[in-house]
């Protein structure tokens, strides 16, 4: 390689390096800031409900309202059904999404008591797969601090929580594996999954 080519290459790479920050659309950066603020506000409200006064039923109702407002329940439900979203009939899909809403609420509100005294700090935010990834540290009395990441994406112009990644394990990915495994074990029959979810809902009422 001649000296000139090297210099040209160097100049070119410097130009590219200089241009990259300019090329980054500013809305993306603004998006990260607003997504982080959204998560912080959601987290503060969740913590206030969990640690605040009120009966178990009152707290569950408040949490349900928060989840409906800030979590993309339908999007997560569709993700968890994986390729079977396209294979399900519209009616199956509607029933499934309704049942999934119950699954999500039960898994959040079912262990309310364990989260007494919970606190969190926002550590950093970065763009990632499927939206902004906000990294937080969750503290609970008598528990080691846990690193929990939240995936935030825009749904109809509103920021929504799409996934929770606790110590490297993604909630929606794990749930998707569960459903995919179950459907595969039942001859790829979506009705079997819906039946099992219905049975689960009957056995664990309260949400």
């Amino acid at each position: 390689m001649s000296a000139t080519t090297r210099r040209t290459l160097l100049a070119a790479s410097l130009a590219v390096a200089a241009a990259v920050p300019l090329a980054l659309p500013t809305p993306a950066l603004a998006g990260i800031a607003s997504d982080t603020a959204f998560l912080k506000s959601m987290g503060d409200q969740l913590v206030a409900v969990v640690n605040g006064p009120g009966t178990q039923a009152e707290k569950q109702a408040k949490l349900q309202a928060l989840v409906d407002k800030g979590v993309d329940v339908e999007g997560i439900a569709r993700f968890c059904l994986g390729r079977f979203v396209r294979l399900a009939t519209p009616q199956q899909l509607a029933t499934y999404i309704k049942l999934f809403h119950g699954v999500l609420m039960r898994s959040i509100t079912g262990h309310l008591g364990e989260y007494k005294g919970v606190g969190f700090t926002v550590d950093k935010s970065a763009p990632g797969d499927g939206g902004t990834i906000v990294t937080t540290t969750i503290t609970r009395p008598n528990n080691a601090p846990a690193k929990v990441q939240w995936v935030i994406d825009q749904v109809d112009g509103q920021p929504k929580i799409e996934d929770v990644i606790a110590e490297g394990t993604s909630m929606r990915l794990t749930q998707q594996s569960d459903y995919a495994g179950f459907i595969a074990q039942n001859n790829n029959n979506i009705a079997a999954l819906i039946g099992a979810m219905q049975k689960q809902a009957e056995n664990q009422p309260g949400a």
Binding site: G82, R83, V103, S107, H111, E167, G168, T169, S170, L173, T174, Q176, S177, D178, Y179, A180, G181, F182, A184, Q185, N188, L193, A196, M197, Q200, Q204
Partner: protein, 256 residues
């Protein structure tokens, strides 16, 4: 620990004998899923899952419950800390093999501090002094070196694993100085006690988590497979992108 070696040998002999392979689906999407889960031995793995689950229900879980509710919490913490302190040589060796000198430094300091000030490891003083605990084992080391995990394996007794995981178990055993000593009764009893306590301590640590998974998952086998792989990948990522500072907490920190 000759017992665990015998167990591994038995498992290695049993596996091909029981190897029922899943049939590759014809449907392109189903085939993509089949390759994505990378579990060609699924029928056999599910058998071992059921066997392990039964063993757990009648043996390990009751032991762990008795241990959890029958002994004081400070005792359980002490046992856990002593066991994890005994792993120091293996963790240190793997930190170095992974090319993580900062993590190796943490491990060395943890071992020195906890063995002395922490009274043979009963108290984890080092964590409070800025030397936090981290995971390192030969399976992670192989992953850092670029060895692929291979298909999913559900091992008898050991549980979720992979061919790389099996090599990892062997590598850890070879790297453990406690496995180099003689074969006397004292050494053997120490080995058995340590393995037994490790099993109970580990199981006690997962009591509520495993109960939740079994209660909520529709296919606990597939859920555990996913959780195991994700957790393993997170440990490998942490080992590959080590962000530990050279200086401990109590020393003025460099600007990030």
């Amino acid at each position: 620990m000759p017992a665990s070696r015998r167990l591994l040998a038995t498992a290695a002999l049993l596996l091909p004998a029981l190897a029922g392979c899943a049939t590759v689906p014809q449907n392109p999407e189903a085939r993509a899923y089949y390759h994505q889960i990378n579990d060609p031995l699924e029928p056999t793995n599910r058998v071992f899952y059921v066997v392990n689950d039964a063993l757990d229900t009648v043996l390990l879980k009751p032991l762990a419950l008795a241990y959890h509710y029958g002994t004081p919490e400070f005792f359980q913490h002490g046992v856990h800390n002593v066991l994890s302190n005994l792993d120091t040589p293996v963790v240190l060796a793997n930190d170095m093999l992974e090319g993580n000198p900062r993590r190796a430094g943490d491990t060395l300091m943890r071992g020195l501090i906890n063995t002395t000030v922490g009274l043979v490891g009963i108290f984890d003083v080092a964590s409070g002094w800025g030397y936090p605990k981290h995971s390192a084992d030969f399976g992670i080391t192989l992953a850092v070196w670029g060895v692929p995990a291979g298909p999913y394996l559900y091992l008898p007794v050991f549980g979720p694993s992979s061919p790389r995981g099996v090599l990892g178990i062997g590598g850890n055993y070879a790297l453990d100085p406690f496995s180099w000593f003689g074969r006397g009764y004292v050494v053997q009893d120490f080995g058995f006690t340590r393995s037994g306590l490790t099993a109970v301590d580990t199981r006690a640590g997962y009591l509520s988590d495993l109960d939740k998974i079994k209660a909520q998952a529709l296919d606990p086998y597939a859920t555990l497979r996913s959780l195991y792989r994700q957790h393993r990948q997170a440990e490998i990522d942490a080992a590959m992108h080590d962000e530990t500072w050279t200086v401990p907490d109590w020393y003025p920190q460099p600007a990030k």
